[in-house]
């Protein structure tokens, strides 16, 4: 059943169809067990009505039913011609994923499940359901990636690599090489995402262990530390060698700074450059209510996409990017008031998104399956916001940004929606699924991981 839903982002009305399924409605009703009996007749009437409505208004879907779910397209809303299915479920906190050339799947879990922090899934029956699962690596983390015959994976402090055989299987899961060791983990923003270039280097995010480098983190009115000391070992990107063991901070290159936290990053093959998605700061209103009301605070600052070159500084914690004024604004912790700009000019984002939506996955699409407009464009998995109260949360979808010659070319659009299983998310815990990681399959399909229920989606296109 398709409904048209509209909401306002960044002063734009954004309309998109919402796919409602009977499963979703019963799920919602199950949340009110006391009233179930009372609601049952009502449910029948509503579903009956909706069924008639859907027969008369929406064309019948030719997409096949997804395994493991009754909802068409696994409950997702997609552009015309695309379909989605669930290829694996309940895998754990599925953070980032990688697909081998054989179409098999590596999943990095946020925390190890039954002693396994990395899962390897195969589909021996070739029925679109990854039923064979093995695991290894007893550490939690976020990133997993394949390059030059190795599987790389990160904990919150180290990066490991595992030699692959000719079928892209890990030959010796218990003895990985330690490529990078001893990166900072102080809880906040501790995930270590990484990506490779084509010259043997590894780019690793070390997130700032702070919201805005206040003297007292997240205490209302607390001012910023002078010459933010966090930036010497965090709040930036470090470059290491892919094939050298036991590298510490000192062995790497402090490649870029002033990035509060990056979870989604990718190497743009067209541009031969690193692109990252920064998580902008939280709580402008909570911490500086005299300058920011809660509405403003719910959309500022921008979540920014940055093209990063060696030596770049994106300005955290001294400035934030305001996507409405299209300006770098001085942080209130450093004397700002929502209007003042900084004396120094920092790196601008190549694209700015509304605040707090938490871009956790970035993927430049290089496949041939999707229509031409998607080629070399960026998919972004927005995990979904938390610090927008009392406004409803935002994100919980996958976005597409068209690119031309390595630069964004046109507005961003919602590509896949419906992960949360409800129209409006007030509290993140109530979202059914939260998109986190993205990967491209050998056939050009797009895989999306959900770190809430561990669901893995496969999105495909057919003319």
């Amino acid at each position: 059943m398709i409904f048209l839903s509209c909401f306002i982002i960044q002063n734009f009305y954004l309309c998109y169809p919402i796919n409602f399924s009977v499963g979703m409605i019963t799920q919602t009703l199950n949340n009110f067990p006391m009233k179930k009996n009372f609601l049952l007749p009502l449910l029948i009437v509503v579903i009956g009505g909706m069924a008639i409505f859907s027969f008369t208004t929406s064309r019948s879907s030719d997409t096949k039913q997804s395994p493991g779910t009754n909802a068409p397209n696994a409950g997702l809303t997609l552009p015309a011609g695309f379909s989605a299915s669930i290829v694996a479920d309940n895998t754990g906190e599925a953070r980032h994923i990688a697909v081998t050339k054989e179409g098999n799947l590596y999943i990095k879990l946020g925390s190890a499940k039954k002693g396994n922090g990395i899962l390897y899934l195969t589909d021996p029956g070739k029925d679109g359901r990854y039923q064979n699962q093995t695991g290894f690596g007893d550490y939690g983390g976020t990133e997993v990636g394949l390059k030059n015959g190795y599987l790389y994976a990160s904990s919150n402090t180290d990066i490991y690599r595992y030699k692959l055989n000719d079928k892209d299987e890990v030959a010796d899961p218990n003895n990985p090489e330690k490529v990078v060791v001893g990166l900072l983990d102080r809880g906040e923003h501790n995930s270590k995402s990484f990506i490779f270039d084509n010259d043997g280097n590894l780019y690793v995010n070390v997130g700032a262990y702070s919201n805005s480098c206040q003297e007292q983190d997240r205490v209302p009115g607390s001012m910023g530390m002078k010459g933010c000391p966090i930036l010497d070992s965090a709040g930036g990107i470090w470059q290491f060698k892919m094939d050298k063991q036991d590298q510490h901070y000192g062995d790497g290159v402090h490649y870029a700074t002033g990035l509060r936290n990056v979870v989604g990053l990718d190497w743009n093959q067209k541009d031969n450059a690193l692109f990252v998605m920064q998580h902008g700061r939280d709580q402008l209103h909570d911490l500086f209510p005299k300058y920011f009301d809660d509405k403003t605070s719910s959309i500022l600052p921008a979540e920014g996409m940055y093209e990063i070159h060696k030596g770049d500084n994106a300005g955290w914690p001294y400035i934030y990017y305001d996507q409405i004024q299209h300006k770098q604004i001085l942080m209130p912790e450093y004397g700002g008031n929502g209007k003042k700009t900084a004396n120094k000019k920092y790196l601008d984002p190549v694209m700015a998104f509304p605040g707090h939506m938490a871009p956790d996955g970035l993927l430049f699409y290089t496949g041939n399956q999707f229509p031409e407009k998607y080629k070399n464009g960026a998919f972004i998995a927005f995990h979904g916001s938390w610090n927008r109260s009392p406004e409803p949360q935002a994100g919980y979808f996958v976005v597409f940004v068209p690119f031309k010659d390595g630069k964004p070319n046109g507005k961003w659009e919602v590509f896949a929606n419906g992960f949360a299983g409800k129209k409006e998310v007030m509290s993140p815990r109530s979202a059914e699924h939260r998109p986190c990681g993205l990967a491209q399959g050998p056939d050009g399909s797009l895989y999306v991981s959900d770190d809430s229920k561990g669901t893995i989606y496969k999105i495909s296109y057919k003319k």
């Binding site: 809880g187 909570d286 209510p289 938390w386 610090n387 509290s427 993140p428 815990r429």
Partner: protein, 143 residues
């Protein structure tokens, strides 16, 4: 903005007078007034991280629902509000990355009593109120 500044003293006044009235009425309904004031404190200082439903944010900010940190020892709970919380511990089987900021310079004893009373009797929680005297005692121990 202006409302925000006016609100704190107003809330204090409200809860104090209601409490006195309640006390005179043979302590009938003593939780209610403090809980109502506590909800306002919660909405101003706590809701962003802990959410309107007390559910918190998975892996970031802990929930306040049916956890020993909220329902257990009141002194520990008051200390968390006063001094913050930055220990990597499991809370209801989950770890959380964000720090709880210390609020001893931000919140007055009355506000802490109100908000903890609200938290201990909301989101399905049913625990006793936290009094201003209890907060005062813990704060003085901290000195």
């Amino acid at each position: 903005m202006i409302l925000g500044f006016l609100f704190v003293p107003f809330a204090l006044l409200m809860s104090n007078t209601s409490k006195e009235v309640a006390r005179e009425n043979n302590s009938f309904n003593t939780i209610q007034p403090s809980k109502a004031a506590g909800e306002k404190v919660f909405k101003k200082y706590c809701i962003t991280c802990h959410m309107a439903d007390g559910g918190g944010v998975p892996h970031m900010n802990p929930p306040l629902i049916q956890t020993s940190y909220v329902l257990g020892d009141k002194e520990d709970l008051i200390n968390i509000v006063l001094n913050g919380f930055d220990k990597k511990v499991e809370i209801e089987g989950e770890t959380f990355t964000n720090k709880m900021p210390p609020l001893k310079t931000i919140l007055k004893d009355q506000q802490i009593a109100d908000v903890l009373t609200y938290v201990r009797s909301s989101f399905g929680n049913k625990a006793s109120a936290v009094t201003v005297a209890e907060v005062k005692a813990v704060r003085s121990k901290n000195k």
